[in-house]
């Protein structure tokens, strides 16, 4: 195999990002939407790691940032699931279309 370049990894990251966005906009199930958001976050993580490795090999900033984002993502998932459970108790459904009362 040839060397795997920065471009390859960035391509994976972009693919992951847009898959996440697409999932977020098309899925009606809140859990699935949450998973899509995780995809977007992970694409960012890959970006950080890739740039750190290929451009600033001697530094660890990107790695730290990635670990930081993973931590935040875990916390965010906990909060999001709590919200989803509450929505479920209220609407007896986790369809995002049902939760549209917050409007004018």
């Amino acid at each position: 195999m040839n060397n795997i370049g920065l471009e390859h990894i960035l391509f994976v990251s972009i693919a992951l990002f847009f898959i996440g966005c697409y999932g977020f906009m098309t899925r009606r199930n809140l859990i699935t939407m949450l998973m899509s958001v995780e995809l977007v976050l992970n694409s960012v993580n890959i970006n950080f790691i890739a740039f750190n490795k290929y451009l600033f090999a001697g530094k660890l900033d990107g790695v730290f940032f990635t670990i930081f984002i993973i931590t935040i993502a875990a916390a965010e998932a906990a909060v999001a699931i709590a919200i989803i459970i509450n929505l479920y108790r209220h609407y007896k459904s986790i369809d995002v279309e049902d939760a549209d009362q917050m409007r004018f």
Partner: protein, 651 residues
């Protein structure tokens, strides 16, 4: 110099009383409000008497000339180096005389009201208003600054408004209060413009400085005489406008229309405000600025003609009125006209200042006998429960004290010696004779008419026919229960004022109050004095013949003079003219277009902007749909847009 700090108490005592009664009186001591007001006013009266004694006999004269004394002065609003609105107290012969008049008459009226307003549920309010008025009037006469006088001027206007509208459940009283307020406010507009003109040229608001600068040969005087508008100098304009304010307050023609209607107020109020004190504020104002007026004969001529015309006009109208308070109101207007033209015929200093002294003298005596007349009329109304002459008659036996005091007052106002009015009227006639024969003729004619209508009133009330209690009354009593003449608290003031109406004429006014502060020897010519007195006596005899017994003669005379009588009865249609000017001309030509502009242009602009905003927000509202994924699309589109911008346009 006399110790002057305590003088501030004279106006402040009524002010404190006003606050105490207005805030606590109604709830905590409703029965004692009148007593409190009276006691504090008696204290004020004693202080005023002390001040008067100190000023006139101890400390006021320097080399035989009365000097104005500034008791104290406190710069209240400092506008610039020279111009400030001060709160001060000036003592000079006229202000000292006025505080005596105000506190004395006010005390009498307070005592009288203790009896007159005894059963009124709102007497706490009444006495608080009376105190407010007394404070304002005292502040007015003691003002050392022309703007201070303007403020107190408005304050007396407000108190007058409140007291005219005291019986606010009667529509006529409300209308009268509004009328008084609007007419005097209209006049005060002129006053304010006048103040501004005088202050602009003299560069000060302080009375003494203003008078000094406008009467000595300074730049101010030259400038104000040089400047002119419509061919009349600024000095004349300023003074005439100031006089317009005075004419409004003093009910001079053509701004007199509010005074007869103001009789809707309680009778003691009419005695105090609309006869003895507030309505002479205009005379006082002209007297206060008299040195400046005397530099401007044109302005004095205006004062003279307006005063003379008003006095004759009011006297004629008074002959035809049937409401006793209205007769007295017109007679007040007539007597104030007397004072005005007396000022108009005077000049500053020496012999020619006789008119000034006579006007002040007449102001003083008039306050006494007119207050007496009103309080007497109040006693009659209290007894009869009606204002109309036809409901009265034959009260002589039933009300002996009122009858006697009313007779004294009528003789005083008719100018019969030795009653007070004779002396003051005599001085006025002399002054008028020396200055202008036409005015003198008007004055003598007015004096004769005055004697006639006063005795018409007197005979109609106390003689004419047997008194029959009538069923109908306006005061809300169900049945007319005969009672005694009046309580002692009402008769006491009548007697005191009666004595004053006799004694006031013997005060040597010429030595005390003159235009330049120097004593003025007044001469007395028997021949000259006899003419008017004889005329007055003839008038009294005429009234005696016509009204002593009930007869058809007065009706026949009024029928014979049909047109004139009707015109006079309707007050020469002045009210109708005002109504025509306001309702027909001003409302239609100014009011309606203004209302149209307000409704369609001003309101229209506001409404249009409101409609536009509403439509816009209606259109934008659905953007906030509550659908999470829709938001996500907006967000994503926005990010893409910025990305495109940054990548292709920024670089």
């Amino acid at each position: 110099m006399l110790d002057t700090k305590y003088i501030a108490l004279i106006p402040l005592l009524p002010l404190i009383t006003f606050f105490v009664i207005a805030l606590f009186g109604k709830n905590y001591f409703p029965k004692y409000c009148g007593l409190l007001g009276t006691v504090s006013l008696v204290a004020s009266l004693i202080l005023s008497a002390t001040v008067a004694y100190q000023y006139f006999f101890v400390a006021g004269q320097v080399n035989g000339v009365y000097q104005p004394i500034i008791a104290f002065k406190y710069a209240w609003l400092q506008f610039s180096q020279n111009i400030s609105i001060d709160m001060g107290i000036i003592l000079d012969p006229i202000s000292v005389m006025m505080i005596i008049v105000v506190t004395f008459v006010s005390t009498m009226v307070h005592i009288y009201s203790l009896g007159y307003m005894h059963d009124d549920p709102r007497r706490a309010t009444f006495f608080s208003f009376l105190s407010l008025f007394t404070f304002s009037m005292l502040g007015l006469v003691l003002s050392s600054n022309i703007f201070q006088i303007y403020m107190f001027w408005e304050l007396v206007g407000v108190s007058s408004y409140l007291l005219i509208g005291f019986y606010y459940d009667r529509p006529s009283a409300v209308a009268a209060a509004k009328k008084a307020f609007i007419v005097t406010r209209f006049a005060d507009l002129g006053f304010l413009v006048g103040i501004l003109i005088l202050a602009f040229y003299s560069g000060t608001l302080d009375f003494q400085t203003l008078i000094y600068r406008l009467t000595n040969n300074t730049d101010s005087l030259q400038n104000i005489c040089a400047a002119s508008f419509m061919g009349v100098s600024a000095l004349t304009w300023g003074l005439v406008l100031v006089f317009m304010g005075g004419a409004g307050k003093s009910a001079m023609f053509p701004l007199h229309v509010w005074l007869p209607d103001a009789m809707e107020g309680p009778t003691p109020v009419s005695a105090l405000i609309h006869a003895a004190t507030m309505v002479v504020a205009g005379v006082y104002l002209v007297a206060r600025l008299f040195p400046v007026f005397s530099y401007c004969p044109a302005a004095l001529d205006v004062v003279m003609y307006v005063g003379a015309f008003s006095s004759l006009f009011a006297a004629i109208v008074a002959c035809t009125q049937t409401d006793i308070k209205r007769v007295l109101a017109y007679s007040t207007m007539s007597q104030i006209g007397y004072m005005m033209f007396a000022l108009g015929v005077a000049r500053y200093g020496g012999e020619s200042g006789l008119g000034y002294m006579a006007a002040m003298f007449h102001l003083f005596t008039h306050a006494m006998f007119k207050a007496l007349l009103f309080l007497g009329a109040g006693a009659v109304i209290h007894y009869v429960h009606s204002n109309e002459m036809k409901d009265m008659g034959g009260l002589r036996k039933l009300m002996p004290v009122t009858h006697l005091t009313f007779l004294i007052a009528c003789l005083a106002i008719a100018g019969i010696p030795p009653f007070a009015g004779f002396f003051s009227k005599e001085e006025i006639l002399t002054a008028a004779f020396n200055h202008n024969k036409i005015i003198f003729g008007v004055a003598v004619l007015t004096a004769a008419i005055t004697a006639f209508y006063m005795f018409r009133l007197f005979f109609s009330i106390f003689y004419n026919k047997e008194y029959k209690p009538h069923e109908h009354d306006d005061h809300g009593h169900d049945t007319h229960t005969p009672h005694g003449e009046a309580p002692f608290s009402m008769l006491g003031p009548l007697l005191i004022l009666g004595i004053c109406s006799i004694a006031a004429g013997f005060i040597p006014f010429g030595h005390l109050v003159t235009s330049d502060g120097k004593p003025l020897e007044t001469e007395f010519h028997l021949g000259f004095a006899a003419g008017p007195v004889i005329l007055a006596l003839i008038s009294i005899v005429l009234a005696f013949v016509l009204y002593r017994k009930q007869s058809a003669v007065p009706d026949r005379i009024s029928n014979a003079l049909k047109g004139i009588y009707r015109a006079a009865y309707r007050k020469f249609y002045i009210d109708e003219v005002y109504l025509f000017i306001t309702k027909k001309l001003i409302f239609n030509l100014v009011g309606k277009p203004a209302a149209w502009i307000d409704k369609n242009i001003v309101n229209g602009a506001i409404n249009t902007s409101a409609t536009v905003t509403e439509n816009l927000s209606e259109t934008l509202r659905p953007v906030q749909s509550g659908k999470l994924q829709q938001y996500a699309i907006y967000f994503f589109a926005g990010v893409l847009l910025f990305a495109v911008l940054f990548i292709y346009l920024w670089v």
